[in-house]
Amino acid sequence: VVIYAAGSGDVSDLTAPSSIDLRSVSLLDSDHSLAQVSLFDSVVSEMARNGGVAWMRTTEKIGGYDLSTSDTEEVHVLAVDDSLVDRKVIERLLRISSCKVTAVDSGRRALQYLGLDEEIQKKETNGFDGLKVDLIITDYCMPGMTGYELLKKVKESSAFREIPVVIMSSENVIARIDRCLEEGAEDFIVKPVKLSDVKRIIDYTTTELREGEQREGARAKRRGINKRKQREGDDDLSSSPPSTLSSSTSSSPSSSIQSATAPSSPSTLDSPTRRLKMTSSE
């Protein structure tokens, strides 16, 4: 990633960005084409992909995003689709939206991954291990276990029923949509899936995750801060250790959430059906 920044800040030393105004930044992909995604997502995903993250130590709001909160963990999405083509596309859409993706080709494999398969009992805690899934996005029409059946199995399990499940389908059948929503699906998107659909879903998933963290109270926040500080200490990056990261930045999520969503997506508190109606009217 080559970042051209205009304005203040010493660009020649990217290891210690103090006040780069990203509004005046152009992002060039490795093949020198302008990335078609939002600036924020590009920066985060490119940096994450390069194996390290140079934390933006500025707490300025840039284009509506508070970059100091970008160090919350990436949303981990389990994508389920029997179509190879669709799997490849959804995986890419999710990666571009700054998610970790695990893609499987059947409901059965999805359950195995979660540890819900009766035959393969894996001890799966809802804690902070690396396999924690934040969101499941699944195709409806699949041989063997349909997306609907997978949805039911997830919602029936005490360990995983909290995980939001989004259904994708090429058929816009009201009865099917209603059935899925009744069974507890978070949302229902019509295929082919657009980037805007994925972004909207990731945005409110991220928000709900953050709100969940806040609800845990101060203790969780302190734990989060310690984790972050640990991670920063372990980082062996070209950037100098961000010793200036103050604890005030960790408490800023609440104020910046509403501005973290893209303008086109609805408020995160919308019910799935309202969101859905907005989708179908687009």
Binding site: S83, V89, S170
Partner: protein, 136 residues
Amino acid sequence: MESKHVHQQIAAMRQSFFDEEVLDEFFSQLEQLEDQNNPNFVEEVFTMYFRDSTTLLETVEQAMKTISITLAKLDKILHQLKGSSASVGAKKVLNEINKTRQVLEKGNLEGTKAGIWEMRKEYESLKAKLEPYFQV
């Protein structure tokens, strides 16, 4: 007396078969082939007919089920093709698939064959166009 009554009954039944057009003149021909040496010829022929036909009809049932399964399988595959064609934006191919599926749903086999042929044409055309494009 009783025998005459039974004969009348038989004659009446037989006549009804012709009246209702359940049987035609070829049945009469069979009857004419009966004689004292072959008094039950017609019945024997019909026993064979019933045995054979039951087996054949079972085969028809199976064949119909297979056709249904095959058509359902075909529709499923077309559905898969539709999904991935939509995902990659292959517009003409998608159109032909949709048309074919509609015809298939109506049970028009000839139309389905034609639709598949058209779909295949668009697909080959798309492939021929895009492969050099990606190579360039």
